[in-house]
């Protein structure tokens, strides 16, 4: 086995582990990066229906090396696997609830029959523990959409219950105008992991009681705080029922304060890389499945805004920063016009943090995979004359006879923060 193959094998077998970005241009980097991208959900054809299966279970998630927390996950991944269909496809999704909590699935941005919209007590009853629900709809409209749980939404969405849903148009006007071969889906979210833990524990404990009562046939509107009408609710209040939002009952006034910010479930330094080549177009589908706005800024480029909430824009326009509000999706096209490694991050830098510490969060990089290795060498391209004697000379290469003394060489080595190579992982700037 060649050394390079061995490295590749190692990278695959340790998928999910931190990849050292010093080898960002190596082919192992792209193999490892697949673990950071959304995974397609396979389907089976049954007549004219595309049949998918989604289940939900409790999962231990590690957004960055060393930090783990309990959360919910569709099919064991955060975000849930990507459902990708064509416009007009008949879609059937069998949803199995393997948790002791209630859930539904809402198809965000999709024009589904209203009884398939996944809003508990409005369009359906919740999917109870160990129950299933089969959603059926025709895939429309085209574009970038997502699905998420609509039960206990404040907690369940930030607890990992979301995934991308892409409806492709075979005659996609965006692809016609900006031909591309590669595309990326980036699902943004924000999480108060302490809130998630406390709420999940509280809900699981309450559900143990409620499931017991339900099995015994002792369901009452007051026990579940679910009423058939306002009159019934008011009558219950007159009989002594106290709504949970009142401060003399259970109300928890502590709204979540997000402390982790993720892209495809991962925080820097585990966030995905966006690989591109010079003169290549890539399409990036941006989805905000969280409750915070992310002002996403790409260094060194302007990109084309080509779709808003999945709707193709008749007149795409250029910008370099986009405010991705909660529930929004945008599609952008990046043209490979400026070779390098460029960060793409939230310019509300409070969200480029992990548990309050910068850098972290939704910091990721656009990487030109055809970037010459030479350009990664710090001392050849640094603007610091201490490191590079040719600094400020318009990119002139180093000339003979300009070697530094050995003492300066030693100091230079100390200033490199390790190898003479970029990029590096910096966790405490």
């Amino acid at each position: 086995m060649k050394r390079r193959d061995f490295l590749a094998t190692g990278a695959v077998s340790t998928a999910g582990m931190l990849f050292f970005p010093g080898n960002l241009l190596a082919k192992e980097a792209k193999i490892e990066n697949k673990g950071r991208l959304t995974k397609p959900l396979p389907f089976k054809m049954n007549g004219e229906w595309k049949e998918f299966e989604l289940y939900i279970d409790i999962h231990i998630h590690e957004p960055a090396p060393g930090f783990k927390y309990h959360t919910l996950a569709f099919n064991g991944t955060i975000p849930g696997p990507e459902i990708r269909v064509n416009t007009g496809d008949k879609v059937r999704v069998k949803f199995v609830n393997k948790t002791d909590l209630n859930h539904t699935i809402h198809w965000h941005g999709m024009h589904v029959p209203w009884r398939m919209d996944g809003v508990p007590f409005v369009t359906q009853l919740p999917v109870m523990p160990n129950n299933e629900f089969i959603y059926e709809f025709t895939a429309k409209p085209e574009g970038t959409h997502f699905y998420h749980c609509h039960w206990g939404t404040l907690m369940h969405m930030q607890a990992g219950m979301f995934g991308s849903l892409i409806v492709e148009n075979p005659q996609d006007p965006i692809k016609e105008r900006f031909p591309y071969d590669r595309e990326y889906t980036l699902v943004y979210s924000s999480h108060d992991t302490n809130y998630v833990r406390e709420e999940m524990n509280g809900m699981l404990e309450r559900m143990k009681q409620r499931s017991f009562l339900m099995k015994n046939g002792e369901f009452t509107p007051e026990q579940w705080s679910v009423f058939d009408s306002k009159e019934q609710m008011q009558s219950s209040i007159e009989d002594g029922y106290v709504p949970p939002y009142l401060t003399n009952r259970r109300s928890n006034a502590d709204l979540p304060q997000a402390n982790w910010f993720t892209v495809n479930g991962k925080s820097y330094p585990s966030t995905p890389y966006l690989f591109i080549k010079e003169n290549e177009n890539i399409r990036i589908r941006l989805i905000n499945a969280g409750a915070e706005t992310h002002n996403l800024h790409l260094h060194g480029h302007d990109f084309w805004m080509v779709a808003d909430d999945g709707v193709p824009l008749e007149h795409p326009w250029k910008r370099n920063t986009v405010p991705l509000a909660p529930g929004k999706t945008y599609d952008i096209i990046v043209e490979g016009t400026n070779r390098g490694i460029w960060t793409f991050h939230d310019h509300d830098v409070r969200k480029v943090t992990n548990n309050g510490l910068y850098p972290g969060g939704n910091l990721l990089a656009l990487v030109y995979e055809d970037l010459p290795d030479d350009e990664l060498v710090i001392t050849k391209n640094s603007g610091n004359p201490m490191l590079n004697p040719n600094a400020g000379k318009g990119g002139m290469t180093k000339m003979d006879g300009m070697d530094m003394t050995s003492s300066k060489e030693g100091m230079k080595k100390n200033m490199l923060f390790g190898d003479d190579k970029l990029p590096k992982i910096a966790l405490d700037e």
Partner: protein
Amino acid sequence: MKKILIILFVSIHGIVVSQITPEFQIGAKGVFSGNFNNNSDESNAVADFSDTQLLLSLRQKLYNNWRAQFVLGLQFPDANSNLGQVFYNNIFIRLEDEKNVLKVGRTLAQTILNQFPTLRDDDAQRFVYSLNPFSNGVNTERDQYANVLEYARIIKKKLTVSIHGENFYDNLNPNDFRLNSLGLSIVYRVPESQKWNRNILQEIGVSYNNFFTKSPYTTDDFEASTKNLIFSTTLNLIPHPINFVDFKFQAIHNFGWSEINFLGSYFDYTRAKSTSLFGMIRYMKRKQERPNYQISVGFGYKNMPSLDIISDQYMLITNAFYRIGENFDVGLQYRYLTNNGYTSIFFGRYEHRAQIALVYSFNKIFNKQFGDRYDILNLEHNYIR
């Protein structure tokens, strides 16, 4: 000395710059009652706020996935307890990981394995605690709390095996802080969060305590020690979320000194052979997932077979609590005690006590950063270090 202080200050100052704010827990219990006593020797009425206490805990993760907790608690004891206005009942530090717990400092000793639904923790003191044989019995805190050194191993999340040494307060040698007790406990306990998952057995355990007493009857140290064995269980009779009934029971056998055949002092009472049985049945009505009211009835019996006259004790206790709001309860409690033989000399022949009480209790962790070992997530979905 000055140099040491300067170095300490510099070190602490350095730490302050980057210190981690811990989780902090505040616990408070206020028990305020009017007691109406009708005893064999006198009748009286007392305004009582004993057992009122405050607890502060600071807890954080260590570098190696262990957790450390510092606890400081104070209690307002009985006025005639000789403990002063305030008794510091909890001053300890605790280190733990998933399977190990180490505790050092003053806290509850393992002289009781159960928690009975009485108004105050010491309402059934003589029946439910393995009594401190070094105490003169003036207060109950010296039976409940000790300076402890305890190691516990947690097996399969619900079984705790602990070995513990204690320094119980010694009225005859108050400045002796050496360990004067050694014990071993094994307890299986279903955590509160899983109560509704409910096998009938909520809790069962045994504890063995060996107090290093000196005996005038023997020079053999083991023979001279006072040995107590506790058995305890809690059964969920009706583990119903709305109409909940449980039964708690504890038995204590004091192997004692068979040479004691009369009670010449309180020390004889705690060192003589005895068997105590105490059980309490509780009905709790829960409304809207919160306790609404609770009614309990308990009965205790203690006999001392080595005494030359029958000297047994009986207790009947019943109470009712009604929740008037989150954290606030009003309560009524009635307790009847009867003492026969030598025990009547110390405690009177009988005692009726009726109490009407207001109770406030609060317990909350602020700045939460990690889960507790008894969270459902950690119990049922793998423990996160």
